[in-house]
Structures are given as structure tokens and as C-alpha cells.
């Protein structure tokens, strides 16, 4: 007796190679090209004072760096855990208040306080994932974590409101002053925030590519079941990823605190923009979130030259819709 079922070969042609290098290079060129083209248009036929335009571009890039920092944490959490973290903005607020309290009650300078806030927020994120989310995430539940982070966000905002009240507070900066680039004013505090954002994005990218932990995080992101089967403790990786995402907002919160008026709801404006940026950049892509942050920052400030006030948000969403129309997976997202 033979039970052999003859198996037809399911091989694709062996010569199938994907042009990764080409696609890799095309994308940044296209994005940079579009941004440069838009800027050139604003300068030449925009009908606005060139000095003002330069100032808007500089301010936009600096602002975009901060957006990038908030979005990087969000995209990491989404990419690995599949959780849309509604609490990202309120965790940012929490970090800012941490820095505020450290400065106000203990006299710790804001940038030192930021460094202290990083491990605190890391621990906070780790506990949130471990205690509130892990059970649901591991069982593949998608709505549960969404509601929990939404609830967590309300909890954080209202506890802060209870303790500190709704009156705007300010965190004193330690580095005053500014300098000019091409006639545009750059404050040191904003430049530090921008540099910090790029540094974090760079470190995170390197860590994901070059360390054992990064390897495990990428594996879990790619296929959590497969990762468990080769001995990776998926629950631990989830908790660490959420913790890293929280640590990112600690950096963002500390760096932004000196030039923002602090209220318990200040993080919410960042939440919406961060979602736009994460989707724009491609869900789960750290590079995409960084580039997306800078682009949205630019659109917002340069757009404000034409549509003052909250009008520039309309432009932000217009860009968002346009990108999604032509590239539904986002700028740096993998094709599904």
C-alpha cells in the first residue's frame, strides 16, 4: 500500500528577487522632492515675505521634531503590539507634570528632570502593559486594549486636573536665548528639543537593528506566535516595548515643557497629530514617524502663513488624505 500523495511543487521561480534597494532609495527621494518643491513654490509664487517663510520653515522643522518624538513611541507600540495607544498624549502630559513637580518642589533643572523622568515613565509603561494590557494583547483581542488605553487617558487627565487644577502652569527653562539662521530666529530650547528628538529616533533605530532585544522586538512584531516558538517571551517583549514607547514621551515631555503652557489637557493636541503622523509615515515604521513628524510640522507652520489660527490644521489633514489616497500604506509602510 502506498499513501504517498504526490505533491506538486509549489515553488515560485527561483529567480524571483525583489528590487529592495531600488524601492528603498526611491521613497526618500520622492518625499524630499515633494517637500522641497512645495517650499520652492511658497518662496516663488507664494506671495509672502521670504523672511517670514524662512522663519516658518525653521519653526516647523523644530516643531516637527517634537511631533516625531511623540509619534515614534506611538508607532513602535502599534507596530509590535497592534495596540492603538490612545493614552500616548496623556502620558506625554503626565511626563510634563513629572518634570514640573521635580522642578517646582525640588528645584531640579528641567533637563536633569527629563533624564529622571525617563526611567519613571519606562516603569509606568511597563506596569500598564503588564497589568492592564498583556492578557488581552496576547489573546489577540483588539478592542479591549483600545478601550483600556482610552480609559487610562481619561484617568490620567482627570487625576492631573484634580491635583493641579486647570490653570496653566509653566516650567522654567534653564537655557534662555536664541540665535539666527538665515535671518530666522531659533531658540536654544527648541533646538535642544529637536536634537533630542532626532537622537532618540536614531538610538531607537539602531537598537532595533543592532541589539538582541531589538531582534526579539522585530521578531515579535513580525510574527508573535513564531517568536514564542523559538523561545522568545512574548509577554516580556510586549511590556518592554510599551515601556520604551512611554520613555519616548518622557523625553518629549521634558524637552517640550520649557516652551509650552502646561495644562492637564495639553497632550491631546499631540495625540491627534501623532495619529496622523503615524498613519502618514506607515504604521510601525520608526523612520516613517520621524519623517512624518517633520513634514506635518512644516505643513502646520508654513500653512499658517495662509490659513491663520487652527486653519493650518485643515492643511495638515489635506496632506494626510492626499498621501493616503496615493499610498494607503503610508510613506514608509510595508505593502500589505
Amino acid at each position: 500500500m502506498t499513501l504517498s500523495t504526490s505533491q506538486a511543487s509549489a515553488d515560485p521561480p527561483a529567480a524571483e528577487t525583489r528590487a529592495f534597494s531600488l524601492a528603498d532609495a526611491r521613497l526618500p527621494i520622492a518625499v524630499t522632492g515633494a517637500v522641497v518643491l512645495a517650499i520652492v513654490l511658497v518662496y516663488t509664487v507664494g506671495g509672502r515675505d521670504p523672511g517670514l517663510v524662512t522663519q516658518s520653515i525653521v519653526t516647523g522643522l523644530l516643531l516637527g521634531g517634537v511631533y516625531a518624538l511623540v509619534s515614534v513611541g506611538l508607532t513602535l507600540i502599534f507596530g509590535v503590539l497592534g495596540i492603538v495607544n490612545f493614552a500616548q498624549g496623556s502620558m506625554l502630559t503626565l511626563a510634563m507634570f513629572l518634570v514640573y513637580v521635580m522642578g517646582h518642589s525640588f528645584g531640579i533643572p528641567v533637563y536633569v528632570a527629563t533624564v529622571v523622568a525617563i526611567p519613571i515613565m519606562f516603569g509606568f509603561g511597563w506596569l500598564v502593559q503588564l497589568l492592564l494590557l498583556n492578557k488581552l494583547t496576547i489573546s489577540g483581542n483588539e478592542n479591549g486594549p483600545l478601550l483600556i488605553t482610552l480609559g487610562l487617558s481619561l484617568l490620567i487627565v482627570n487625576v492631573l486636573l484634580m491635583v493641579f487644577g486647570g490653570r496653566p502652569l509653566s516650567v522654567p527653562g534653564t537655557v534662555d536665548g536664541s540665535f539666527t539662521v538665515l535671518g530666522a530666529l531659533v531658540s536654544y530650547e527648541r533646538l535642544i528639543a529637536f536634537g533630542g528628538a532626532l537622537l532618540v529616533a536614531l538610538l531607537l533605530t539602531l537598537a532595533l537593528r543592532k541589539t538582541s532585544l531589538g531582534l526579539a522586538i522585530r521578531a515579535v512584531s513580525s510574527n508573535s506566535q513564531g517568536a514564542a516558538l523559538v523561545g522568545v517571551n512574548v509577554g516580556r517583549i510586549y511590556a518592554l516595548t510599551f515601556a520604551i514607547g512611554s520613555a519616548c514621551v518622557a523625553v518629549a515631555g521634558g524637552l517640550v515643557a520649557p516652551f509650552i503652557s502646561l495644562t492637564p489637557s495639553v497632550g491631546e493636541q499631540f495625540t491627534i497629530l501623532a495619529f496622523v503622523i503615524v498613519v502618514l509615515g506607515g504604521l510601525g515604521s520608526v523612520v516613517g514617524a520621524t519623517v512624518g513628524g517633520l513634514v506635518i510640522g512644516l505643513v502646520q507652520t508654513v500653512g499658517a502663513l495662509y490659513l491663520p489660527g487652527t486653519g493650518s490644521l485643515i492643511l495638515v489633514f489635506a496632506v494626510f488624505v492626499l498621501v493616503l489616497f496615493f499610498r494607503p500604506q503610508g510613506m514608509f509602510g510595508a505593502k500589505q
Partner: protein, 239 residues
Amino acid sequence: MTILEVKGLVKSFSGLTAVNDINLEVREHEFLGIVGPNGAGKTTLFSLLSGQLPPSAGKVVFEGRDITGWSANKVAATGLVRTFQLMRPFESMSVLDNVAIASHARHRSRRAARRHALGVIERVQLERYVNSLSGSLPTAGLKRLELARALALEPRLLLLDEVLAGLVPAERAPMIELLRELHTDGVTVMLIEHIMTAVLALSERLLVMHEGAQLALGEPRAVVDDPVVIEAYLGEDYA
């Protein structure tokens, strides 16, 4: 000596009993073939043993330790490792990284894990793909990658789920040779396979499953000639 002891193992999915009262003792260094028609519960049995699914009833004892209900990563770390029929590589990662993740279960440092992974990749003859993205491998390469990831965990019991399926006959022979070598090196193997010539060439004992239950277990030749087994496969008329 017994390496794996399975007692009264049952798995039901809301009414459907996929695995029904399996009792089995696998001896150390044994090569056990598992055959059965589609839907017989072979793969579900592997999922129960490897900790991916919790059993509805019964007990799994590996090397004297009761591992029933352990999580998949813990089971893998103890040396009971499975492969998948449908390969699930980490597609956006290189072949080396794919295997290095598994090596990390045995080697803490990144360098040691990579060196170990390279050794395993050489063993399954995937050297020329070391830096390729795993998603770009042809089927035969994916099968070998699946095997490499399992081997990187230095298994003492290896559960292989149709590692030959999808290979053309010319690719099967070297794979069978590789499996034989692994077995000679001291790994205990349980192999689910439809290609009967391969099963008969490799197995020391054969388990036949049918509708979740254990239909026959014993010396391979005797088992395939058993009228009960033939009936299960081909229907009553042929028995």
C-alpha cells in the same frame, strides 16, 4: 528511557474533538513517524505538545517534567521544539537574524548567538542565503530555514510537521538525508509526513491517527499492512 510521555491527551474545539485520548511513550533517540488522513489531528497534537494550545484534558511529561499547560516559549526553551507545515519566517528579517533569535535561547551574547546561528545555517546548507531576506526564499529554502530555527534551539525532541511537503522529488532526498543525520546525532524525532516512502525509510515506529484518535502504533511495515489502517485511508471497499 522515555523522553516524552503523553497520557489521555484530549483537545476539543466547541464540540469537535480534534485530538481524542492519545496515549504515547516516545523513547529517547527514537524516530517516530505520524501519519493519518487530513484532519486526523496530527498537527493539533503537535500544538498541544509544544504548548501552543492548552489541552482540554490529559498530561504531557517531557524528560520527567510535567509540562502540561506551559507557555510555548517555555516549552521551546526546555528542548521540545516544533516546526510548521506552513512556514512562518520573520519575513522582513534576514535568514541569519531569523535563526539568531532562536540561538538566543541558548546564547546570551549577540556575538555568540550569531556565531551559533551561522553554524546551524551551514548545517542545513543555507549559507548562500545568510543575508537574504527570509521572505524572498524559495519553498525549499523556507523549509530549511524552518528546520534551522528549530535546530538553533538545540532540541532534544524535534516535532517536524511535513518538512518534505512542497518539495520536488529532487529536493526531498537531501532533506531526508539531513533528517537521518540529525537523528544519528542523538535528536529524538517525531515526524508528521504524507510521503509514505520517506516515513517508512526513516521511522522506527509509526503512529496512525484517525479522527483525532490513535488507530495503530507499532513497527511501520506491520502498521501499514493493518486492515484497520487501510480502511481508514481508503474506505471499507479496499480493506
